[in-house]
Amino acid sequence: MRHALLASSGLTLSQGIALLYLLAAVLFILGLKQLSSPKGARRGNWIAAVGMLIAVAASVPKLHATTTGIVLIAVGTVVGVVVGAVSARRVKMTAMPQMVAAFNGVGGGAAALVSTMEYQRLVATGGQGVVFVFTVVFSVVVGSVSFAGSVVAFSKLQELMTGIPITYAGQKVVNGAVVLAILGIAVYLIGFGTSVPVLAVLLVIALLLGVGFVLPIGGADMPVVISLLNAFTGLAVASSGFVLGNTVLIVGGTLVGAAGTLLTMLMSEAMGRSLSNILFAAVGKVVAGAGGAGEAGEAKPVRSGTPDDVGVLLAYSRKVIIVPGYGLAVAQAQHAARELANALEKRGVEVEYAIHPVAGRMPGHMNVLLAEADVPYDQLKEMDEINDEFKSADVALVVGANDVVNPAARTAPDSPIYGMPILAADDAKNIVFLKRSLRPGFAGIDNELMYDQKTIMLFGDAKDSLTKLAVAVKAA
């Protein structure tokens, strides 16, 4: 049917497929464009999905699959669709970042496998140029790094392993040696020899690099890493497109490679840090150990309160601004926060949420979490919108956040977070910190604000404390 249609339009099969690939590429671009504006984001995702469907369907007529091949494709697609759809449906909103990491990793793994197999096939028939081998090597290395790095990122966020940066003596030397080994093998394959086993060894070493690269990065920085690995997978896929001579792979992969790189830069900008600082400084470990600020801080007195004290303070306020942070996401306390806000609003207290650009586990993650807990849209205020309002707030209730309200970002040029835009919680008449302990935030820096005269510390699990506060407010 398809062939007849093509014949009547004067196109060959290959030309027809190429045009459908072009249509898919256009839909990807439109989809990305819409995804970056609040109004059309959801539609954009669907536009891109339609493009994907068209591209996959268009590739079918020229597969020339053997019977085995048809079975492999059918079984593989069904298994992948079921696994992908079920895990995406079931995942909790708080676990979203590691889910994205997982989906990204499998894409990188697929790109590495595709190029490996194509290399093996063409080695058998002979005749492959330098560019071909280069693109094979590139997609195998970058795809494998993305796969293994995503596995580590997933494990850190899922708390299968510690989220604290893992560092050891000579780590940079070891990672450097791995990079050199990869370069050496790459040069050999491109310039000197043809060998499938050597390519397999290269793949394994690249997996090691992926692990070694992500291990020293702390859990709170993981979103930026995932975004970077997302861009990596895009480039690996584009490179596989060169290997297979397939334009839609080149376009799709390159779009993600470029957009992902830009997004990674935007994210690190929102955190007020450079990408190299995030990737190589092992922030969260080195600073805490070296600064000595932590120990000095322990000795300083803080004012700690009971849930009842704080409940009364909140109940008799006119305006309360809640500053939700990483800790709220970890404790899954968004519903408890919403209940406290309800109790306060019933008493006529004005409640707003101050959302720092990097609050939560990923930029924008906090908005998703609070929306899930039915927090009304108009109560969520972006940083620029709300910073002037802290002056008129009776209480700034900081839930599991630290660095995003740390005045050191404004005042201490030697601080790792210096220059990061922060929420002006210190302008509020009272500040309440809900925290597990005085332990510094992920950047490992002491927060002066916790020792301020007008600050009350309420120690404990965020969810537990918020629930107790709601009870206390209702009783007040």
């Binding site: 990807f28 492999l72 593989g76 697609t77 993600v256």
Partner: protein, 100 residues
């Protein structure tokens, strides 16, 4: 260098520019969904995985080909579905006002 290769390089360079330009201004609130949505797009590797699986020959290729198709399909479907779930939430809260 073959003409085809030149064509591919042209496509690559232009796509890179488009990728940079198309998302120039993204509000932070959309960073996560955008990352997730673009993540689904590189699932296009499914087309490549199908191509190599189609001519898989012998046990090693069968295993690798099957693995490639499964991984790529997870990337595509999981990526789009999870992005839709995130964005669904943004939409749901607007008419809500006060859910209780």
């Amino acid at each position: 260098m073959t003409d085809t290769l030149i064509q591919y390089i042209t496509v690559f360079v232009l796509a890179a520019f488009v990728g940079f330009e198309v998302i120039s201004k993204v509000p932070t609130i959309l960073h996560t969904p955008l990352m997730s949505g673009s993540n689904a797009i590189h699932g296009i590797i499914l087309v490549g995985a199908m191509a190599v699986a189609a001519r898989a020959n012998g046990p090693v290729e069968i295993v690798l080909g099957l693995a490639a198709v499964i991984l790529a399909a997870i990337n595509v479907v999981g990526g789009f579905v999870v992005t839709d779930r995130m964005l669904e939430m943004f939409k749901a809260r607007r008419p809500g006002g006060g859910a209780e």
